[in-house]
């Protein structure tokens, strides 16, 4: 009779019981979340003037984080493709855990967009029916649709799979396979639509280049799988789930190709801008060499460049990608590299110089950093709790109750 309530307590018990490291990790995330929330309240109280954004650079750190995380959400699921093609042993783990990561990532994406809004109290104005959503004209309307659709899709697939597993039932491939297949082009779509947000603005020559969406995808295919490789190592350490080394090494090889393409596209952009040397060169010059003495982003961009190239070398050679020390080093380097390049390195130069030729050097304030940290912690917490529950269900250590008592 009360089995749904009992099951609720099963979930609660699974996610609240852990060792000291687990509690320390949760406490750390919770603290950062509180700091973030308090900072956001401060921002609500004073307005966005508390950020470093101004009319000249009207999007900053929040939107930068948003674009990076969309890549994480997309790329994790894209791993499903090679998993099927190469017939990796742990396909199920890859599908399940990358979908859980996508759920956490989309949660963060939505939060980053919301904290960037000037009037969060009017959020409903962009919804269809309740508000007046400008569909299909506004790419932001498209983004709202694809992001929420992607969230729903991943929530459904992962929760359905876990629910069936917890009842010791094999999940029905008839239901789930078309959805998994649908989630692949959908993952590409969230990334493409986000790229198009920037890409469609003729006022901003730096973004208005056709190479933007392909580069978005290429760099996402670097950072997303890199994060997954680290997560897989953690999962197999803390649980009984076995993840084959071969699968991880194969993913590393794929990341090398993706980074190769990303670097090639960057080189193509460099060539076009610097050889033709038109006035549209300015943002690129600002990024890598500084413009009229303004050089805030220059050290960051070269750091990203060095990190990406180093990671590329480490990933491409079998000796280094099959050694966990160098592999993990490469994963960290590539995440930082792509974070810089696709975050601040993408959104800020669209605004520098401004449309009227002004140079405003943006660098985020403490409040912006704390709010962002809070959102990252929220995402990490969501993912931690999801995985904490998913792992024992996957290995069969945790089972639900049904009408007839405990599931065996």
């Amino acid at each position: 009779m009360f089995y749904p309530i009992r099951n609720f307590f099963v979930v609660l018990k699974t996610v609240t019981k852990g060792n000291g490291y687990y509690y320390a990790w949760i406490a750390c995330l919770a603290t950062l979340m509180i700091i973030g929330a308090v900072s956001y309240l401060k921002q609500l109280d004073q307005g966005l003037i508390i950020t470093a954004m101004r009319d000249q650079v009207s999007w900053g750190f929040y939107i930068s984080n948003f674009t990076f995380i969309v890549g994480i959400a997309a790329a994790a699921v894209l791993l499903v493709v090679p998993a099927y093609i190469y017939n990796f042993k742990p396909i199920k783990e890859i599908v399940l855990f990358s979908e859980l990561l996508a759920v956490a990532a989309i949660t963060m994406c939505i939060m980053f967009v919301v904290v960037d809004m000037g009037r969060v109290d009017r959020l409903l104005h962009v919804l269809p029916l309740i508000g007046t959503m400008n569909f299909p004209s506004s790419l932001l309307a498209w983004d709202i649709i694809v992001l929420n659709g992607y969230l729903a899709l991943n929530l459904f697939i992962s929760f359905y799979a876990l629910y069936q597993m917890a009842h010791n039932r094999e999940y029905s491939l008839q239901i789930i396979k078309p959805l998994i297949i649908l989630s692949i082009p959908w993952a590409i779509s969230i990334h493409t639509v986000t790229a198009f947000l920037f890409n469609g603005l003729s006022a901003r020559p730096f973004w208005n280049a056709s190479i933007l969406a392909p580069r978005f995808l290429a760099s996402a295919f670097c950072s997303g799988p890199a994060i997954m490789m680290i997560i897989f190592q953690v999962i197999r350490k803390v649980s009984k789930i076995e993840i084959d080394n071969k699968a991880i090494f194969k993913i590393a090889e794929l990341v090398a190709y993706a980074m190769g393409i990303n670097l090639f596209l960057l080189a193509a952009e460099f060539f076009k801008e610097f050889y033709s040397g038109s006035v549209h060169l300015a943002p690129m010059e600002y990024l890598y060499f500084g413009l009229h003495g303004h050089t805030t982003l220059v050290p960051w961009m070269w750091t990203a460049m060095i990190f990406n190239i180093t990671a590329f070398i480490l990933f491409i050679s079998p000796a280094t990608r099959e050694n966990f020390l160098t592999l993990n080093l490469a994963c960290v380097l590539i995440c930082i590299g792509v974070y810089i390049e696709k975050g601040m390195g993408l959104s800020v130069p669209g605004f520098v110089p401004s449309t009227l030729g002004e140079i405003y050097e943006y660098s985020p304030t403490l409040i912006e950093k704390l709010v962002s940290l809070g959102i990252w912690s929220t995402g990490a917490l969501v993912f931690t709790l999801l995985v904490k529950f998913a792992m024992p269900v996957y290995t069969g250590e945790v089972r639900f109750y049904s009408k007839h008592g405990a599931v065996r």
Binding site: V38, L41, K42, L44, D45, Q46, G47, L48, I49, I50, T51, A52, M53, R54, D55, Q56, S58, W59, V113, D116, M117, G118, R119, D121, R122, L123, H125, V126, G131, T132, M133, N134, S137, S138, L139, L140, A141, I144, L197, F198, G200, L201, S202, A203, R204, V279, A282, G350, F351, P353, S354, T355, L356, G357, E358, Y360, T365, L366, I367
Partner: protein
């Protein structure tokens, strides 16, 4: 001239006590709609997009707005909602050879349109460009912060830029909430009660014409202009975008009045009129002067024409 330096100030005030105070205050702000018995909070929350309001709803809204402005500014506001005049398409002309860069237009605009004084918002930016260097297609060397004792300075010319009222406005296309649109008389307007503050339009505008209320807009009480239009110069809110509307509150009157910037210009560099009227001054300029528009390659088709009359 935005408040770029304010964040330094804000950083300094970011002490622990200030932080806690701010938090308490914002918690209080958040609590208002829940605990308040005042129906107007809910009324403004549920207020419709300007497009979608019935005449009765519009009247209610105006009444409610006027009441709120009275509470906030202790002044009686007239808020007009009159629509476009028939057979009218407004156009603007600016004679670059006359402009002396005195910025009287900037300040007349600030005053007439109730722009925030702190933080400062200017709908018109006057660019100073060096004669004989790059023209107006590369604005990288333009300077909008020139401050000599006297203008015009030798060797420079001046180019004021404001909303170009594009026929093909990129800002309208990108707004996710339909909070900004082009009216029949060609003026691009914003519903300040519908804007969600995402600033996508600012990224899309090639002319830097859109401005955001980063902080609470402040206007000295004695400088308020209370004769307003819903889509024009009524006081704005924190967190919304605003821009030039060709002084919609003036030009839609019958008989129409000139925008404040046209009226104040001491050298007659600014021309304004109905593009559909063959006898208008703006049509005369278009037909007799060598006219160009800013960033024409973007195909936004501005109704703001620059020319060199002499």
């Amino acid at each position: 001239m935005n408040a770029n330096n304010t964040d330094d100030k804000l950083e300094k005030t970011f002490t622990r006590r200030g932080f806690i105070k701010g938090t308490a205050a914002s918690a209080a702000v958040l609590a208002i709609p829940v605990g308040s018995t005042d129906a107007s909070v809910w009324q403004s929350f549920f207020q419709n997009n300007f497009h979608e309001m019935s005449p009765e709803e519009l009247q209610d809204t105006i009444h409610n707005l006027a009441k709120k402005y009275r509470e906030k500014y202790q002044a009686d506001f007239t808020i007009k909602t009159n629509g476009p005049r028939p057979d009218t398409l407004f156009g603007y002309g600016l004679d670059l050879s006359r402009c002396i860069g005195c910025r009287r237009c900037v300040y007349a605009c600030v005053r007439e349109n109730n722009q925030s004084r702190d933080p400062q918002i200017h709908w018109i930016s006057v660019l100073q460009l060096k004669k004989g260097e790059k023209g107006v297609s590369d604005l990288e060397n333009a300077n909008m912060y020139y401050a000599p004792d006297e203008v015009p300075e030798d060797g420079y010319f001046y180019m004021p830029v404001q909303c170009q009222q594009c026929e093909n406005p990129p800002c309208v296309k990108v707004c996710p909430a339909k909070a900004t649109w082009k009216e029949k008389d060609g003026i691009v307007v914003i519903d300040y009660n519908w804007c969600i503050g995402c600033r996508f339009c600012m990224a899309a505008c090639p002319y830097g014409a859109r401005h955001f209320n980063w902080g609470e807009p402040r206007i000295p009480k004695e400088e308020l202009v209370t004769e307003t239009h819903y889509l024009g110069n009524r006081p704005r809110y924190r967190g919304v975008v605003e821009k030039c509307t060709f002084c919609i509150q003036r030009v839609r009157d019958t008989p129409g009045r000139y925008p404040a910037c046209v009226e104040v210009c001491p050298v007659g560099a600014r021309k304004f009129g109905n593009l559909l009227d063959p006898k208008s001054e703006i049509r005369y300029c278009l037909e007799h002067k060598r006219v160009f528009r800013l960033k024409e390659e973007l195909n936004t088709s501005p109704k703001f024409f620059y020319f060199f009359a002499t």
